[in-house]
């Protein structure tokens, strides 16, 4: 056991004895009968299927779970949260050890508290009543440790990238000098560069302080080399213990490989099997009707010299000033049965471009034009289409499924589009079946799991039978099972003649879909190139059959 470390940090020990927790208003416990010892300085990766109570355990250790009627022998009231057994940090309840553990969550936006960099790092230390001079010493040290020392202390936190925000959150945690660092899917919302940034910062800080680490993450390969123990939890039940497997990373990954794969964990060296793309209208399309009306490779939608920005024109007094485009000049074609993948670093305007192409954001310059095959009389500019004209032609799946929920029931959600259009309700059952939502028809969309929400959001958009499907980061934060299902389904859609445009960082996903890759760079230059599958043509002439 390491006795002494730099920076005045004493690593914390965690002990759980028969610990369980039931959230208020739930009938089943989130965690049940957990027995666990984590020694000071250990680095633990926590795995398990969704619903295994990983986040609940982290929140409990951070001392931020609500109040409970802690096993006082009285009749349990199902409206109150219920705790059983004991969960201790250094032999004391986490709630009584404020500042002993620091927690980082998934959403970078809510990991920032204050609007200036230095103030945000100082926030935790202030709350722990650290003297002022000491606070600023810690702030400088922490910013140095996470690699943000080059920014001024009054740098606006809103101007940071996702990866920088998470590193800032880490600095804020480090300034509290915690003995236990808790990371709840800290990189799930980040691009590949951001993931490495955060992972490496965490590694450096642990090497320096020797603090204990517990991290929850689906992508094992990111954290495997940094941790020295993997614990696999299973969903709470009355009979089985919470810990399924516990041991050294290599050993656990070998022993539990099949089980982890079945649970949707991204095990290193394993790419989930997906359906292979075949020729347009090929023989192995299971349930989808082939789009007879379209010829393969038919041009549907084109962007010419397109300049995009999410900002609206600004008003300066009476004048209207057009925003500065993030991308000044993009040219791209969308063709029936072909995939267009948009890649590039965060902030390069990928999503903005896709949403402009999808008729949701007006172009700042250049134009988006639909060919007659797509517009079918609705006009050339998708942004000018009415909402119901749009959904029957171009369907867009947003990054956050909840943004698109418009009803309170899964079935209503799926029927919403067809009802508005007045046709196509027969497709709903097929989609329910195909995306494994049949058992959830009466559920409230907001209560679904992450993977279910993603499948539902794809299904609802497809219910309107659009010829072009646009997806913004469809695989972000998804487990391996949902990923494989989605990739297979989209490849099938492509073979049936739908055009699929996706914004993604995911190279495997790009590979499965094939087609053209359009890479956008942060400098605002677009460089079209042919993707790994080398299927689609790129840089062909403008749409000739467009309606006036």
């Amino acid at each position: 056991m390491p006795a002494h470390h730099h920076g005045g940090v004493r690593p914390a020990a965690v002990t759980a004895r028969g610990w369980g927790w039931r959230h208020a208003g739930r009938s089943k416990p989130a965690v049940n009968a957990l027995d666990l010892d984590i020694h000071p300085g250990e680095r633990v990766l926590l795995l398990g299927p969704s619903g295994a109570g990983k986040s609940t355990l982290l929140h409990a250790l951070a001392g931020v779970l609500g109040d409970s009627t802690a096993g006082d022998g009285g009749p349990a009231d199902s409206d109150d949260a219920d705790e059983s057994g004991s969960l201790l940090i250094d032999g004391e309840a986490p709630r009584d050890r404020r500042g002993r553990a620091g927690l980082m969550q998934q959403d970078p936006e809510t990991q920032v508290v204050l609007s200036r960099l230095g103030d945000d790092v100082a926030f935790g230390a202030e709350n722990l009543s650290v003297p002022r001079d000491e606070i600023w010493t810690r702030v400088h040290e922490a910013l140095d440790d996470v690699g943000l020392a080059h920014l001024p202390l009054d740098h606006p936190t809103s101007a940071l990238s996702g990866g920088q925000k998470q590193r800032l959150a880490l600095a804020g945690i480090l300034a509290m000098r915690p003995g236990l660092i808790l990371l709840d899917e800290p990189t799930a919302n980040l691009d590949p560069a951001g993931v490495l940034e955060v992972r490496d910062s965490v590694g450096r800080c642990l090497d320096k302080t020797g603090a204990t680490l517990v991290v929850v993450e689906h992508r094992v390969s990111v954290w495997k080399d940094l941790v020295d123990r993997i614990i696999v939890l299973q969903p709470g039940s009355g009979t089985q213990p919470a810990v399924l497997i516990d041991g050294a990373p290599d050993q656990v990954l070998e022993q539990a490989r099949e089980m982890l794969i079945a649970a949707g964990v991204w095990v290193p060296g394993y790419v989930p099997a997906t359906r292979r793309r075949s020729l347009f209208g090929g023989p192995d399309i299971e349930n989808l009707p082939v789009r007879q009306e379209l010829a393969p490779g038919q041009l549907l939608l084109a962007a010419e010299g397109l300049a995009v920005s999410r900002e609206r024109p600004r008003r300066r007094g009476f004048k209207s000033i057009p925003p500065l485009p993030i991308q000044p000049d993009i040219t791209a074609q969308v063709r029936a049965g072909e995939a267009l993948t948009i890649t590039g670093p965060n902030g390069s305007g990928k999503s903005t471009f896709a949403l402009t192409l999808a008729g949701l954001i007006p172009p700042v310059g250049g134009k988006v034009s639909a060919t007659v095959e797509l517009s079918r009389g609705a006009g050339i500019d998708p942004y000018k289409w009415k909402a119901e004209q749009l959904i029957a032609r171009i369907g867009t799946v947003f990054q956050e499924p909840e943004h698109q929920f418009v009803t309170g029931r899964v079935l209503d959600e799926l029927q919403f589009g067809p009802r508005h259009l007045g046709h196509g309700e027969e497709r709903v059952d097929e989609l329910l079946e195909r995306l494994r939502l049949t058992g959830l028809v009466d559920a409230n969309p907001y209560t679904l799991s992450g993977g279910e929400k993603r499948r539902l959001s794809v299904a609802t958009v497809l219910a309107a039978h659009p010829q072009v499907l646009v997806l913004d980061e469809p695989t972000f934060g998804q487990d391996a099972n949902t990923w494989a299902e989605l990739a297979s389904f989209l490849s099938e859609l492509l073979d049936a003649g739908t055009a699929v445009v996706s914004v993604t960082h995911d190279q495997e996903f790009t590979h499965v879909l094939g087609g053209t890759e359009l890479r956008l760079d942060a400098q605002g230059l677009s460089a079209p190139g042919v993707g790994p599958a080398g299927v689609g043509p790129s840089g062909v002439d403008a749409p000739e059959a467009a309606t006036p």
Binding site: L114, A122, L128, R132, P156, R310
Partner: protein, 267 residues
Amino acid sequence: MRAALTISGNHAVLTRANPLAKFGGVFLITLVLALSIDWMSASVALACELLLFPLAGLTFTLLWQRGWPLIIAAAVGGWSTSILAPDSGKILLDVGLWSMSEGSLELGLGFLLRGLAIALPAVLLMSCTDPTDLADALAQKARLPHRFVLGTLAAMRLVGLMAEEWQTIGMARRARGVGSRGTPWQRMRATLGQSFGLLVQAIRRATRLAVTMEARGFGGASRTWARESTYSRLDIWVLLGGAAIAAGAVIAAVWAGTWNMVWLERS
């Protein structure tokens, strides 16, 4: 987009003054202007405020960008007062129902100037005051409960995010076939639905932010402050300046014989 009203990178003199002193100064001016509705006190105050612009790092361009709704509101208020107020003195303009007389014009002008003189200090104050510094002063100097002050400050940061979220939800719903165009009834329904979506997201975000803050030890009875909110000699000048402008406005109005206490007006 999220910069709100504070000018980033502002290093003008008044940014160094304590926010409470600035509030005090502005309060004195506004108090006097609320007492009387005459053009003299308003124009003296307005002239002095315009002279203070460089001290707050404001320029006329910046003022117009930030304060144009207020300026237009004051102008519209002044105009309607001058054509709708009861006539007195020589009639200058008469178009059916609308008429403008010397008396009503004077009243309208007073209204316009006072509107500007009350609105400008608010723009002035916000452009040279960082919300974090204001929170520090409110908690450390005005002794407001720190949980309330810091909770509000953190929530304000989310308001900017919510503006972006509103835009995103609007697009996401259009992609589901919910049009924000159409008849007023359809538009109202669409807006209601969008508001519900925003509310859900706001609650989610707020819950996560609350967890972040609690996990950083927020909510205890006592805490230290990394930034000390202090008063300096500058703050005395700020208060004296506010008092001088207020006094100057009263004296000028009394001297010109236009001082007109609001509650004595109807006697």
